[in-house]
Symmetry: C2
Subunit: 321 residues, 2 copies
């Protein structure tokens, strides 16, 4: 058994190599550049953990984990084009550095390469894993489309937002674990509990991310606190506030969203606090985390094997009590 | 056995259905719209022909053919974005109608859906077919990148151009036939001859396309004759002319490429003719066609089974003698 951090190191070491041929360099150098930007490689590590929860790590788990990380990078490259984002992890985005067209193609070829790694795994479970991989990939695209739709939509319900977040980010975390568990020989019941663990953990993480963007300690959070508010992003906090606030607060929120006064962040935060949106968000996060941990608890393996997954949830979710 | 036209009708009938779920409509309606624009469906039909050359059509051949057609449409959607093309077959391109971002995502989801059809075929040859499919998909992306590179490059050698065209268009024709032949139970030798038949036929077709764009009868050709010349596109004709023309003609060509006089098309055509570029192009086309037909001849099946493939080559390549 390996800890979360050990698996992260093992994967990073294996992943750090060329994934594409040298030529044509105009296509593959940009693709390798983007992979070199790095990242926490959480999803592939979750695939390894899904395997090791049930059995020693099978070589196929590394192939699947690599496919998942390539897929994730494909989504980042294309999302960056769609968002016209200039930076990722402090480095130039692919389209910014090499142009939109090459970024589009490099993303395409990265998705194709992900399937080549899926093709390296044993035939006995390849169909099953390819099917889950395809379903997840479609869902991630659906989530991205819904996210773009919501930007243009005046009213977005909280349920719709949770559905979008689930598709855009949670299902890939869930599928990463489940694919690993299939390779590890888990029963169907155990696989499904693991999937639900990952899905709910992902939603809890997103609630926390929205919360920290508004209420986080700027020194600890690292990101630009209040950024979501300044950009009028639809978040858990804003959507809930619009549902529960007094008519007067709601009107003020709507005014603040459509204008950009200098004291916008403070005023929105003050409304959030007066409607107890901060406490509500913490409760919502705890609810999803509790659901996740219940599913982890329900998996029929010795509890000592679950330790790395508990470490993962502690790594991703800061508990306040 | 079915004729080329019969297979085209059978495939078109099967393919005309929804390939995506209804929701989210903002993603899948655009994807279905693009498939509805139509096309000759040559590649999937080639897959069916590759199967039927060796045995009755297996249901898996329809799955593979559908995957190939979806893949082809994915490339068209993304190519249209890269080329900023407003029209395809007289209809609005996807990005023009629904915006670049949705077109990008709809292309992505179409590629993913292609893999879902590959996942429906029998495990006994799935790995082999997926591997060829992935290799071909990567090559098509490489071809598109090289095509974009060549636009910015002053000198492009004829060999480089043939390599680009092979990757961008011929390998998919070749792979379509070969995938069908794998399903039809062909031996490796026969599969490879069929692949080479498709590859060389594709190059011959492209030489003809470049030729017709310059020398074609406007009434028969249907396209805007001289369009490649007006757009300074690097074609078989231009690259050869730049290699064989007299220094004076070469200088004039280079002047015409960098400027856009009103009589540009006539003057370029006149140089082409004086260097016998038209005759050379016809000989080149015949050379590739002959190579293709030799490979078809070398396939060890009764010659009567090859009739639909001969019909295909006659449909694609007009012979002048």
């Amino acid at each position: 058994m390996h800890s979360f951090r050990e698996l992260a190191e093992i994967f990073a070491e294996r992943f750090t190599k060329a994934h594409f041929p040298a030529s044509p360099a105009t296509l593959y150098e940009p693709a390798e550049y983007f992979l070199g930007i790095g990242g926490k490689r959480i999803r592939p590590v979750m695939c390894l953990m899904g395997n090791e929860l049930f059995d020693d790590i099978h070589p196929d788990a590394y192939h699947a984990a690599t496919a998942i990380e390539l897929f994730h990078n494909f989504t980042l490259i294309h999302d960056d084009i769609m968002d016209a984002a200039p930076l990722r992890r402090g480095m130039e985005t692919l389209h910014k550095k090499y142009g939109d067209n090459t970024a589009l193609l490099a993303g395409d070829v990265m998705l194709i390469q992900a399937y080549e790694y899926i093709n390296k795994i044993d035939s006995s479970y390849q169909k099953h894993i390819l099917s889950l991989f395809n379903k997840t990939a479609r869902e991630v695209c659906e989530g991205q489309q819904l996210d773009m739709d919501f930007e243009k939509q005046e009213h977005v319900g909280l349920d719709q937002y949770i559905n979008m977040i689930t598709l855009k980010t949670s299902v890939l975390l869930a599928a990463s674990l489940k694919i690993g568990s299939v390779i590890g020989g888990a029963s169907e019941g155990n696989r499904n509990h693991l999937y639900e663990f990952g899905k709910n953990l992902g939603i809890a993480f997103q609630v926390q991310d929205d919360y920290l963007d508004a209420f986080g300690d700027p020194d600890k959070f690292g990101k630009d606190v209040g950024g979501d508010i300044r950009q009028n992003k639809k978040t858990f906090l804003l959507l809930h506030a619009l549902e529960v606030c007094s008519p007067q607060h709601k009107q003020e929120l709507q005014y603040l969203i459509t204008t950009n006064p200098d004291d916008k962040v403070e005023r929105v935060l003050s409304i959030f606090k007066s409607c107890n949106v901060d406490e509500w968000a913490n409760r919502l996060k705890e609810k999803y985390l509790a659901t996740a941990l219940q599913h982890l608890d329900d998996i029929a393996v010795m509890s000592s094997r679950k330790k790395p997954l508990l470490e993962l949830s502690e790594f991703l979710i800061q508990r306040e009590h």
